[in-house]
Every structure is written in C-alpha cells, then in structure tokens.
Amino acid sequence: MFRLFTDSAYDILSYRRIAYTVAAVFIIPGLIFLAIGGLNFSIEFTGGTLIVIEAHDPAIVAASMRPALQAGGIADPEIQVFGTENEFAIRARLDPEATDENTQQTAEAVAEILTDTFGAGSYTVILTEAVGPKVGGELRQKAVLALVLGFGAIFFYLWMRYEWRFGTAAVLAAMHDIMATFAFLAYLRIEMSLFVVASLLLIVGYSLNDTIVTFDRVRENLRKYRRDKFYGVLNRSINETLPRTVLTSGTTLAASLSLVILGGEVLSGPLMVVTFGIITGTFSSIFIASPILMAIEQRWPGEDVRGAKDIGSAPGTTIVTPKA
C-alpha cells in the first residue's frame, strides 16, 4: 500500500514560532508594498478601455505603437504582450473627470490610429472592453460588498457551528490567507479583476475547508482521548488529518496548475492566485490555525480543555519545550 504521512507523529505545534515568522516575513513587506504601490486594478474597476489586438504585421510592436498612440491623443497607453508574441493588450485608463462616452470613443480612436499608422488589415481586434466610470465605481462597491458579506456569512456560520474559540481560530487563519494572498498580488503585480475577487473568495472557502477538517478531528479527539492534554490532542489531530490534507491539496493543485499553464492568458492571473491560495491555505490549516487555537485556549480556557495552561508532552508527540 502506498501511504503518505500515515501514523505520523510530528510535533507540529512546536514549529509555531517558525510558522509565525515565515508568515510575517512574507506578509508584512507585501502589505507595505501594497500600501505604497496600491493594487493593480483592472479596467473593470477603474473604468477605461482595453483593446487586445492580434498583429499580422511584424512592424506592430509595443515600441512602435506607443508613440503613435500618444501622438493620436491617447494620453498614457499601457501596452502588454498578451499571451502569444503577436498579441497585444492596450489599456487606456480613464481620467477621473471623463464621461461614459469617452471610453467608447477611446476604443474607436485606438483602432483608428492603428489603422492609420500600420494600414488596414495589419491587425485584428480580438477583444474590446470599454467601461464607463459609473459602472467601474459600482463594480468596486459590489466587489467590496461581496468580500465583506461573504466573509461575514462564513464567520457567522463558523461561530454557530463551533464554539467561539474554534471559530475565532479558523477565522484568524483565514485572515492570514487573505493577507498572504494580497501580499502575493502585490509581489507579482497581478491585475486585480473581478475574477481575482472571485478567486479570493474561493481561497477563503478552501482554506476554511482544510481548517474545519482538522478542527472537526480535534473536537472528536477531545471526546475520545479524555486523558490526553490539549497540546497532545491538537498534534494528534493534525497528524491524523495530514494524509487527507496533503492529498486533497495535491489534487486541487494539480487542477489549478494545469489551468495556469495551459488555460491561456485570461485564466493565468486569477488561477495563479488560486494556486497560491491552495498552498497558503494548506500551510495555515497545518501550521497557523491550531497554534492560534492553542493560544486562545491558553488565554481563555474552555470547558473541554485539559491542561491547556500547563502544556506538557502528550502521547503521540515528541518531547517539546512548553511555552512559558
């Protein structure tokens, strides 16, 4: 039989300081990055025009399009290679006092300038997006609402379903994942689109999923091993669910990585976020959620908790140095 981590007995809780440090080292610079540079919002949110063209003429490159577009009155065009080498994404963001009509006209103006410069038929427009400022503003609002209300509902569910200590620990672990993902967005300058917002929600769902499986086991083991100390029960539960955690992460990662690599330009950004989320979600459910739960139980011991305050070694764990 092929087995992973079966009957493992790692003292995972003893790695909590390292885990906290790793998380802080990743998250804090990322959030500072974010505070300085801001999120790279997509056209959907800022309002503006996005045109993707497929060039048939080798003369069409970013360096030749930029001056032509600027001369044609497109103030600050962002030009990117989109997928294959001869496909380009041209973005013209809206200046704040523009009207809806402007985004329409910009789309037409870009096409006109390109035709004038490189000749008709030298390119094909394969995608156009023109978003007015009103729609962009609404979408920003909606995205924030979806995130806030979605998180709120899940947190509420967890608090209903579990005792508050477990719920809080799960929520804090999910917060860790959100912050880590925002840091990831900042490091890679991934465009913040509505699809990425959807990915964020998916990540939170997934991460909680992992944490819940572990916590369910903790609840069960607290009843089962009446004589064990809390520290030991936590470690045992993490170890028992480790095969499942690793295998599910493996299959989900396989699916999301296939999409990142093979899914094309539109999917790669959001799916990179999902992939990262699966990794951080797995990390947090193993190394963050349970230590937080333990810290909470130490500070505010619940009925179930035996010896949370005087944490000692427990069956199934190696000898650990208790936290002072």
Binding site: A107, E129, K134, A146, A153, Y157, P243, T251, A254, L262
Partner: protein, 554 residues
Amino acid sequence: MSTIRNRLLIIGLLLAAAAYALWPRTVTRMEQGPDGEPVEVVEKRIPLKLGLDLQGGMHLAVEIDQSGGPVANPGDALDRAETVIRSRVDEFGVAEPLIQRVGTERIIIELPGITDPAQAKDIVSRSAFLEFRITDMQQQFADALPAIDAALARAGVRPMAGERSRTESAIDLILGTDSADRQSDSTAAESDSTVAESGATSETVFSELLSYQQGGIPGEFLVPEEYQAHADSLIRHPAFQRALPRGLTMFWGDEPISQGARPFFPLYALQSRALITGEELSDAQAQIDQTMNQAVVNFTLTRRGGRVFGRATAENVGNYMAIVLDGRVQGRPPVIRSQISRNGQIELGSSQISDAQDLALVLRAGALPAPIEIVEERTVGPSLGRDSVARGQRAGIVAITLVVVMIALYYRTAGLLAIGGLVFYVIFALGGLAMIDATLTLPGLAGFVLSLGLAVDANVLIFERIREELALNKSPRTAVDSGFQHAMPAIIDANVTTVIMAAFLFQFGTGAVQGFAVTLIIGIVASLLTAVFVTRTFFLIWLQRRSPSAQLSI
C-alpha cells in the same frame, strides 16, 4: 441486496435525468444571413450555452441618457426602451440574444456571434426618432439674426479670431458663382442682404459663420465644416435660445455637402411643432433608387397617421418639409407638391443598401423613448472564444488525468471506485448545468476543473477514515460503514462554507463571475451526491463480491 438494487435504481434514474438534459437536441434560431436578412438556422447540439467569452460576441450595458436634460419618467422610458431594443435585436437576427433589465436603470444586451460590433451597437443605441417639420418659410430666423448676434455679444461671446476673412470669402464664393439663381428667389435675396449688412458690423458672432446654398430653401443655412462645433456651441448658448423666435428650433443636416471647394454643414431653422412623428409609422423598407443610385427607405404610415399627415401636407403645399431623424435633417428638405397621405420616402446620402436596411429596421422596430448611452461595452472576437474553449478543454483533460493518476496510485481498487464516481460526477455536474440552463463561461470552465480537484476531497476524507478504522482492526464492512459515517460532518461543514461563498459571488458578480459561482455550486452538489451515494454503492457491491476475509485494497 435489496438496498443495493434500490441504490442502483436511484443512480440509474439520476443518470437518465442527466443524460436527458444533455441529449443533443434540434434548435431553430434566427441568424443574420449573407444578405443581411434574418434566416432560420436549424442545428443539433448539446443544450449547454456558451458565454460570450467562449463563443465571441458583444455585451452592452445601456442606460437612459439624461445628460441632455432630465427624462420625465426614467423607469417607464427604460421599460419601453427594453421593448424597442428587443424587437430591434429580433429583427436584426442574432442567435440567442439576451436582453435583461438590471437594477432600476440599466439594460444588459448580449449578442453572441456578432461579426460587426459597430453596426450592432448602432442598431441598438440609435434613437430612431423620426419627425417631419416645415422649414422656417417666413424667414423669421434670418430676420432675428441681428438680435441673436447682439444677444450673444452681450453675453460676452467674442468672434472667433482670424476667421472673418475666410468666412467672407466663402460667402463671396457662393454669392459670386450663382447670383442669378439667388435673385430669382426673393426671400433668399432679402436674407442675403441682412447677412451682408450685419457682416459689416462688429457684432456678428453668429451670423458671420453662416452662408447660403444655391437655390436656397427658406430656413436653410450653411456653416463651414470646421466651424460646425463652434456654431453648435453658440446655438446651445442660453442667450441664443432666448433670442430665437418662438416656434422655431435649429437642426443640423445629417451630412456635410460640398459647395464650391469646401465642405459645409447645413443648418436648418424648422418649426418646433412636428407635422407627424415616427410613432405613426406602420412599415419601412429599404430600396435602391435606380435613377439617383441612392439608398432610400420607403415608409408607410398607419391609417390614423395618414389622415393627420394628409391634412397637414394639404395645408403646406408649396412649403419645404424637413425629414428629421434623431435630431438631424436627412437630405435636403423636399418641397410639398401635393397632399401626401400614407406613403413617403427618406433619402439617404449614401448608395449603400445596408445603411438603408439598418435604418428601415430601426424605424420598423420603433423609436427609443429617450436617448440611451452605452455605459459598458465588451466585445470578444470569435477566434479568442474558440481559443479559450480549446485551451480550457486541454487544461481540463490534463487536470483530470493528473487527479485520476494520483487517486488510482494512492488508493488502488478503492481509488478506481472513486474514479468511477468521478465519471458520474462529471455527468451529473454537466447535466445539472444544462438543467438549470446555465451559461458556461471561461471562469465557469475554470471553476469546473477546480471543482474536480475538490470533488475527490470527499472521497479522500472517507477513504482516510476507512483506513483508520481498518487500522483499529475493524472488519472491512464495519470500517467502510463507520468511515462513511464519521467523515460526514467534516464533508458537510467544508462544503457549506464553499456554497456560502459561491452564493455571495453569484449575488454580487457579473456575467462571467456568476458563471464561476454557478458551476462551483452545481459542482459541490454533484460531488456530494457522488461521494456519499454513488461511491458508497460501489463500495457495497465491492464488499459483497469479494471474500469476507480478504484485505481491503484501499
């Protein structure tokens, strides 16, 4: 044994329902033929709708445009606009269009497979408000020009720098070339002198922009094309509107005309009261006028409209009547030679039959109750859509293969049962999508592939549990039973959180993201169904067939 039979029966029924939902069926739809006319297309296909991002097409969000002044009842106007747009799109011939009210002030229009986005946009957003108005026969506007100039000058409008000489030469050009014609028309000559006189004074901010066309129609003026924007801003000036004689409204011509060497824009002073509007139209057809080699639209009025129009034209024999479409005068106003009743013709500047067809279409479908503006536009070319589908499929196949290999390696026979369950999962999920008539989008496709990874999670939870129970030296049968039982709370909790997230996504997302949410929800339901019911049935059969003492391959 009977429980197994019952279980198989239920699985069979579910499978049949999914297969029925997915069975290719014949659909008839309208599509635009090569000649621009809608044709019926009959085809057989799996009833799963592809979103615009996968099949190419256009997405528009429109609102009532209130920038030109508030609309009296915007809600009602939007309702009527929706009806008009729907009938226009139907006449245009788009396969499976979607026209939908969103919120209180927006209409979403989705037109799959559109090849000419500009044309489609024009047809949807054109007001198509048709009016017939008599020109300013009494030359009231020409008489009022000095007053208008003075009013504008008092309001602080300065003449355009350095334009005087050029405009004058333009006037000279026209006056000089056709003085005989001009003199034959006494009214035109009269107004001519007005302009000439006022041109000499310093306060001619507006009238200096005007000149006349040969064989002038009363109330018709010409503005050099380069000054059109400036003249238009003066017309909108409150001082101009105050000084404008009552009962008159200014309209621009539809297209510039060449007069001498330069292009001019015609400007018309028309009666504010329209003889009749497009509401009384019963039919409109496009045609090429052979003699003029010009595209025309022939229209027919309703019976009531014909009576009203007949009376009005009888009173106006000898007068010029402008045909105004969306605030622009179409062609030169013709003279009314005799009473007109139900039939008439609109001349288009071009000889393109397609222009006339588009106009006839929007006229038939009716005018929009108020101007609309496009607040969002998204066009996906068909090649990108095809590309996305191909890539999505490839990624999906690779993902499925990887997942299958991992599960089979790790869980052996039990893994194969789980893979069998996955096949059911795919059929159930696709069937569910077809049943609720969901639209498959690119994010949706991604959601589907991802949910494959998640779908095995329930199996993994159960299998791990069974292994643990076996490790406690329980019999295979007991281990399987308690494995399924003990894994349930975690499975339920985990899936409820994802469903909550997806529900919020659906509530607040737009098209593509909603597709993502829907496939996730359907995926979770299907995966629960397969993991706790289908795979368990497989287990029961497996346990029954093997010898009770053998090791469980898990």
